[in-house]
C-alpha cells in the first residue's frame, strides 16, 4: 500500500448512525405510506414484518459480517471481500456489481437530493403559493425539466435546479474528502438526530390538524389515519352503463367513518348501481401482489444489496460488534419509516385533499400532493420548508454512503490518495449525472437508471450476498464470524432461514417482479402489458434515451472490470501476513 491512508470509525454509535443514515431516505417518508394505504394497513404490515424477519435482517447481518471479515484482510469493497471469502477469481468479478450499484445510484439520487433542497429553499423564500393541483404540477415540471430534454439544467436562480445540484455535489464530495470519521460520521451524528427532530415537529403538526375544512367532515386526520391503517376496507362500487355501446364500467371509492359508511349503505340500498364491498384482512393477505409490495419495500428501505453496508462494516475490527449494530441500524430505519413516515404523509394528504388526492407514486406524492397540502395549511410555508429540508438531510446521508465504496475501490486498486480518488469519482459521477439531468423529458434517464440499477441489480447483488454468506462461507462459520465482539447473538432459527428461506423468498420475488417489469407480463393476474423496461431496449420502438442510459451503466461496469482485472491488489485473498491470518 502506498499513499492511501487507513480509515476508521470513531465510535459505535457513529457507525450505526451512518448505516441508518444510508438507509433512511425518501422511501421512508413517501414510498412506504403510499404502499400501506394502497394494500390495506393491517394486511400490509403483517407481510411487511414477516419480510423484515425473512429478508431484511438476514441480509443485513450477512453484509455486516462479511464486511468486517473482508476489512480484517485489508479489503473495503465487495470486490475484495467476495474474493477473500470465495478464494476464487469469480468472487472479485461478482463484486464488480457492488461498485457499479452505489456509483450509478449516486448519479441520479443526487438530482433528487437537489430537488429536495430546491423545494425547501423555495418554501423559505415564500415562492411556493399554488392555485390548485395544476400550479404544483407546473412548478415541479419547470423545476425538474420533465417537459423536454435539456430544460432541467438551468442556472436561472432558485426556480431552477442547476444551482442546487452543484451545491449538493460540492457538499457530498467535500464530506467524502474529509474522510470516514471527519466527514460521513460527523455529518450523520448531527444530521440523523436533526432529521428525527424535524420529523417529530411535522408529525405533531399533522396529528393536530383535526378537520381543516368543517364543510367537508369526511376529510380529517382521523379519516387519513383510517385510510392508512384500517385492516378492513369499505369500498363503494358504482357501475355506470354507456348508453351508446352498452358497456358497463365500475368505479371504486373508499369510504371511512361510521357515519359515512352508514350513509353509503343507505344509498346502496336504494340505488341498484351502487354496491358496498368489504375487503377483510385475510382476503387481502391472499393477494400475492401485497406480499411482493411488502417484501420489496423492506428490501429497498433497508438499503441491503447495495454493497454499502459491507464497505462501512469493513472499517470495524474483530472486537467491534456487528450483530447489535446491524439490528440497531435496521431498527432506526424502521422507526423513521413506520413511526414517523407512516403517520405524516398520507394522513395529511387525506385531511386536506380527501382520499382521492392522496394517491400517487413517490414523486407525485412528494412533489405534487404535499405542496398542495402545505399550501392549504396555516404556516404551510414554514412546514413545507421543514419537511423538504428533512427529505434533503435524509437524501444527503444516503448519497454520501454511495460514494464511499467507489472511493475505497479506487484508492486500493489504483494505489492513489484521497485527492486523486475524489477527482476521478467526481468526474465519473459528474458525467453520469449530466446525462440524467439533461435527458429529463418524462424523467426517462432517471427512471431507466433507477430501474436497472436501483432495483434490478440490487436484487442480483442481494442474492449473491446471501448465497456467499450462507453457502460459500457457510452458516456455522458465518455465525461464528458475526459473534466476535458482539453484545447479542443471532438467534439459531436464523441459520436455516438464511440458508434456505431468504434465498428462495428473494428469488421468488425477483422472478415475479422481473416478469412483470422487464417483460411486461404479470404472472399473478396473467395480464400482458404493452410496457416493460426490457421492451424499451429490445421492443419494436426502442427508446434512445433508455439505450444511452444503459450505455452509461455498461461503460462504468467495463471501467471497473478493467481495473479489477489489472490491479495486483485483488490477486491476493488477503493482505495480512501469514501470522496475522492465523490469529484472525
Amino acid at each position: 500500500m502506498g499513499t492511501a491512508v487507513k480509515e476508521s470509525w470513531n465510535s459505535r454509535l457513529g457507525v450505526i448512525l451512518a448505516v441508518s443514515g444510508s438507509a433512511v431516505g425518501l422511501g421512508n417518508f413517501l414510498r412506504f405510506p403510499g404502499q400501506v394505504a394502497q394494500y390495506g394497513g393491517g394486511a400490509f404490515m403483517v407481510a411487511y414484518f414477516i419480510s423484515f424477519l425473512l429478508i431484511g435482517l438476514p441480509i443485513c447481518w450477512a453484509e455486516w459480517s462479511m464486511g468486517r471479515y473482508g476489512g480484517e484482510r485489508g479489503f473495503h469493497t465487495s470486490v475484495g471481500i467476495f474474493n477473500a471469502i470465495t478464494k476464487h477469481p469469480l468472487g472479485k468479478y461478482m463484486g464488480v456489481i457492488g461498485i457499479v450499484i452505489p456509483i450509478s445510484v449516486y448519479m441520479y439520487y443526487v438530482v433528487i437530493e437537489a430537488w429536495c433542497l430546491g423545494y425547501s429553499v423555495n418554501y423559505l423564500a415564500g415562492r411556493m403559493n399554488f392555485e390548485g393541483a395544476s400550479g404544483a404540477g407546473a412548478f415541479f415540471a419547470q423545476f425538474t425539466g420533465i417537459g423536454a430534454n435539456g430544460s432541467g439544467l438551468g442556472f436561472g436562480g432558485i426556480s431552477q435546479v442547476g444551482f442546487f445540484l452543484l451545491l449538493c455535489f460540492g457538499l457530498n464530495f467535500y464530506l467524502i474528502y474529509r474522510g470516514l470519521s471527519r466527514g460521513i460520521e460527523i455529518f450523520c451524528k448531527y444530521a440523523m438526530p436533526a432529521l428525527v427532530i424535524l420529523a417529530v415537529v411535522i408529525l405533531i403538526r399533522v396529528l393536530t390538524i383535526g378537520t381543516p375544512d368543517p364543510t367537508q367532515p369526511q376529510n380529517s386526520i382521523n379519516a387519513g389515519l383510517g385510510f392508512m391503517w384500517n385492516p378492513n376496507k369499505v369500498v363503494l362500487v358504482e357501475s355506470t352503463t354507456d348508453v351508446a355501446t352498452g358497456e358497463v364500467s365500475l368505479s371504486e371509492k373508499p369510504i371511512f367513518g361510521k357515519a359515512f359508511i352508514e350513509e353509503a349503505e343507505a344509498a346502496a340500498a336504494t340505488n341498484p348501481n351502487l354496491e358496498i364491498k368489504r375487503i377483510g384482512i385475510v382476503k387481502q393477505l391472499k393477494n400475492p401482489q401485497l406480499w411482493l409490495a411488502a417484501a420489496g419495500q423492506i428490501f429497498f428501505s433497508l438499503s441491503v444489496g447495495f454493497g454499502i453496508i459491507m464497505t462501512y462494516a469493513s472499517y470495524l475490527s474483530k472486537q467491534d460488534d456487528v450483530i447489535l449494530s446491524g439490528l440497531a441500524a435496521c431498527s432506526a430505519n424502521e422507526f423513521c419509516e413506520v413511526a414517523l413516515g407512516g403517520l405524516i404523509t398520507i394522513p395529511a394528504a387525506v385531511a386536506f385533499l380527501g382520499a382521492a388526492g392522496a394517491v400517487g407514486g413517490t414523486f407525485a406524492l412528494g412533489f405534487n400532493v404535499l405542496p398542495m397540502v402545505f399550501d392549504s395549511m396555516p404556516a404551510g410555508g414554514l412546514f413545507g420548508f421543514i419537511f423538504f429540508f428533512l427529505l434533503f438531510l435524509a437524501a444527503v446521508t444516503s448519497s454520501l454512503s454511495m460514494l464511499q465504496p467507489g472511493i475505497a475501490f479506487l484508492e486500493s486498486a489504483l494505489d492513489i490518495n484521497r485527492r486523486q480518488s475524489v477527482a476521478i469519482l467526481g468526474f465519473i459521477t459528474g458525467m453520469g449525472t449530466l446525462v440524467v439531468v439533461y435527458f429529463s423529458a418524462d424523467l426517462k434517464a432517471l427512471d431507466t437508471m433507477d430501474f436497472w440499477i436501483g432495483t434490478f441489480l440490487i436484487y442480483i447483488m442481494a442474492t449473491i450476498q446471501i448465497i456467499i454468506f450462507a453457502w460459500v462461507m457457510g452458516i456455522p462459520k458465518g455465525f461464528e464470524e458475526a459473534s466476535h465482539g458482539s453484545t447479542i447473538s443471532i438467534p439459531r432459527i436464523f441459520g436455516p432461514v438464511m440458508k434456505y428461506i431468504t434465498p428462495v423468498f428473494l428469488l421468488t420475488i425477483f422472478f415475479f417482479w422481473a416478469s412483470e417489469n422487464v417483460f411486461g407480463y404479470n404472472l399473478i393476474t396473467g395480464e400482458s402489458g404493452s410496457t416493460g423496461y426490457g421492451r424499451e431496449l429490445f421492443g419494436e420502438n426502442p427508446s434512445q434515451v433508455a439505450w444511452l442510459t444503459v450505455s452509461v451503466i455498461l461503460l462504468l461496469t467495463g471501467f471497473v472490470y478493467l481495473i479489477v482485472n489489472s490491479s495486483a491488489y485483488f490477486r491476493k485473498n488477503s493482505h495480512k501476513s501469514a501470522t496475522e491470518e492465523v490469529k484472525l
Partner: protein, 54 residues
Amino acid sequence: MNTGGWIIMLLSVGTVSTLFAWCIYKVLSTPGESEHLHGFEIETPDEKADKESK
C-alpha cells in the same frame, strides 16, 4: 379510523419504537461505547499522508 385500525397502528408503531429504544439503550449501556474504536481522525487522509511524507 376504526378499532382495528387503532390496534394495527399502535402495534406497528409500538413494535418499531420499542425495538429502536431497546437497541439504542443496549448500544449506549455497553461498556466502552464512549471510547473511541480506533482513535479520532483529526486530519483528512490527505493531510495525514502529506505530513507522513515530509
